[in-house]
């Protein structure tokens, strides 16, 4: 589909040749930036993960020692378990809520134009803002618990955010609040793309609403399910801001996640080698999800 091919120039004068090279010259700075700042930096971090870097990068090769140690650090264990809990609940709950809202909004609802932006606006907020709101709303001293008691439910207690075993679930609540509207928008776009003729035909054949959704509509939403899964899991692995704003990793280290671990070990505890190795593991996890997805997307379009 090339409008012109840089190598088979018809004219040979300087101007024509320059025109033929221009596209590549224009793209070159971005290419260089990408090679250095993305792939070069990744290579450098991978290299550091095999050195005994502490406060500053060091070039003393130590082999797999950092990875060996990483997997024996208790906080890394906590971080990985937390990520598993957080990611699975966050993805599943956001998908269910997003799908329900989309299906319900698609029933020719009066006021859809008002409801849709309300469902979606949290996506425009910073996680720090979201975290601030939920941090104080769930704080037993002034938030939900205090309000319920003030209203006369004396025995009501909701102190998850201060409880090391439960605090991670409060982060799920805030994250779902922020992202479920976005999932709704993706499913709604999918629903609006489904051909109504097929649905009408199925109804003529006597299919119930339930069967209509189960057999015809949901299977057609598969691309939306896949996109939602990929985007949400990618957000989950990267989640850092929300944890910092809501619990700052606490109580203790009970809400650490890999992104928090990496930052703490690299910049606060001066264990750069360990920090680098945790970043590499995060990258590999995301790559395992994103690379096949992007590859399939790019191939489809060809």
């Amino acid at each position: 589909m090339a409008a012109t091919d840089g190598f088979s120039a018809s004219g040979s004068d300087f101007r024509t040749r320059l025109q033929n090279w221009l596209p590549k010259i224009v793209l070159a700075p971005s290419f260089a930036i990408m090679v250095i700042f993305v792939y070069g930096f990744i290579a450098f971090t991978i290299y550091l993960s095999f050195t005994d870097s502490r406060m500053l990068p060091s070039y003393e090769w130590v082999g797999w020692q950092n990875y060996d140690r990483l997997f024996r650090i208790r906080q890394w264990d906590t971080s990985v378990v937390n990520l598993a809990i957080f990611a699975s609940l966050y993805i599943v709950i956001s998908t269910i809520i997003g799908l329900m809202l989309a299906i319900f909004l698609d029933q020719k609802i009066r006021g859809e134009g008002v409801l849709r932006p309300i469902f979606l606006y949290p996506m425009a907020l910073s996680f720090i803002v979201t975290g601030t709101a939920w941090k104080w709303m769930l704080d037993p001293a002034i938030g939900l618990e205090a309000t319920m008691r003030l209203w006369g439910w004396e025995s009501f207690s909701f102190g998850w955010i201060k409880d090391g075993d439960m605090a991670i679930y409060t982060i799920v609540i805030a994250a779902v609040w922020q992202s479920s509207g976005f999932v709704m928008a993706m499913f709604l776009a999918g629903l609006r793309g489904i051909d109504n003729e097929i649905l009408k035909a199925a109804q003529m054949d006597g299919a119930s609403n339930w069967n209509l959704y189960r057999r015809i509509i949901l299977p057609q939403l598969r691309p939306a399910f896949l996109s939602a899964f990929v985007i949400l899991s990618h957000l989950a692995i990267k989640s850092y801001d929300l944890v910092v704003a809501m619990t700052d990793g606490g109580p203790g280290t009970s809400t650490w996640m890999p992104a928090v671990f990496m930052y703490e070990y690299t910049f606060t505890r001066n264990q750069m080698g360990i920090g680098a190795s945790s970043a590499v593991i995060m990258l590999m996890t995301i790559a395992a999800i994103m690379v096949p997805y992007l590859y399939a997307e790019l191939r489809e379009k060809k």
Partner: protein, 293 residues
């Protein structure tokens, strides 16, 4: 989103419809509640909040928390309020948004209308760079900013956001220009128009919507960033999100919840405003960033 169904084929009873409305309204409440709580509590004296009445409307309305958050609240060690940090964020976001959009537009133009061998690979590499966990670049980036002597400054953050914004802006413009008729470009070429002439005269005039998407989405991402701000901008050059977090999570003194809420709304205001004014483009950017290709 493109084709709205004119008539929904799924029929439902009136009881079911009532349930649907109830469900939707409950969720609307769920989404609005946190912001509503922040707003009413930012207009209350502190005693009313610590007295347990977070849901009640203020008895004595006051804008004192807003004034305090803006100009006198303690951020870190300085009682400067959030104002200087708000300005930092604007100084950081505006150049980074413009730069990354310009470069993204040119990249998208080259990758769709001047294709060459290996362009898909280059695009694939750029695309993947949108999704890397930024933890993987933090350490080398800190070194490079140090070497360039812009560590801990706003220009440093502009560079970082520009660099890691290119992937997304290229994605937007590439997808948009892919649907633009290549014949028009060809015809202009035969008429003797050059590379930049075609871009300027033919591509750009019809790029309004995608420029809006790119501006809005880049602005939202850059304004809301916390990781880069916390890593590369210390003290006085910190962006708004970092300053807000310092305000809320500083462990010294009395916790002024009302001031925290006022500050949080200030940090949310620019992106929220953009969302209200240009929500349509916001949703498009969201889709373009998720349904790729």
């Amino acid at each position: 989103m493109a084709v709205a169904s004119t008539e929904n084929a799924v029929r439902s009873s009136s009881v079911a419809r009532a349930f649907v409305y109830l469900f939707l309204l409950l969720f609307a409440l769920f989404y609005l509640l946190p912001f509503g709580i922040m707003l009413i509590n930012s207009l209350k004296p502190l005693e009313e909040i610590t007295g347990g009445g977070m849901v009640a409307l203020p008895q004595n309305w006051t804008i004192e928390p807003w004034l305090s958050a803006w100009s006198t609240a303690q951020i870190g060690v300085q009682p400067t309020g959030l104002r200087p940090y708000f300005i930092n964020s604007i100084m950081m976001a505006v150049p980074a948004v413009i730069l990354s959009t310009v470069v993204g537009a040119l990249n998208g133009y080259v990758l769709t209308k001047w294709r060459f061998r290996g362009d898909t690979l280059i695009f694939g590499l750029l695309l993947f760079s949108c999704f890397i966990p930024f933890q993987i670049v933090l350490i080398p980036m800190a070194r490079v900013l140090g070497i360039l002597q812009i560590a801990g400054t706003t220009p440093g953050l502009i560079l970082v956001h520009f660099v890691y914004g290119i992937g997304f802006t290229t994605l937007y413009f590439r997808n948009y220009y892919a649907a633009f008729p290549t014949e028009l470009v060809r015809a202009a070429q035969i008429d003797g128009a050059g590379f930049f002439q075609i871009f300027w005269r033919i591509m750009l005039p019809s790029s309004g919507p995608i420029i809006a998407v790119s501006f809005i989405w880049q602005f939202t991402n850059i304004w809301n960033d916390f990781l880069f701000g916390a890593s590369f901008a210390s003290g006085g050059s910190a962006p708004m999100t970092v300053a807000l977090n310092n305000l809320v999570n500083s462990s010294t003194g009395v916790r002024e919840y009302n001031v925290h809420f006022a500050g949080a709304i200030m940090a949310a205001a620019p992106t929220l405003l953009v969302y209200i004014v240009a929500g349509r483009y916001f949703v498009r950017g969201l889709m373009a960033g998720s349904v790729k290709g």
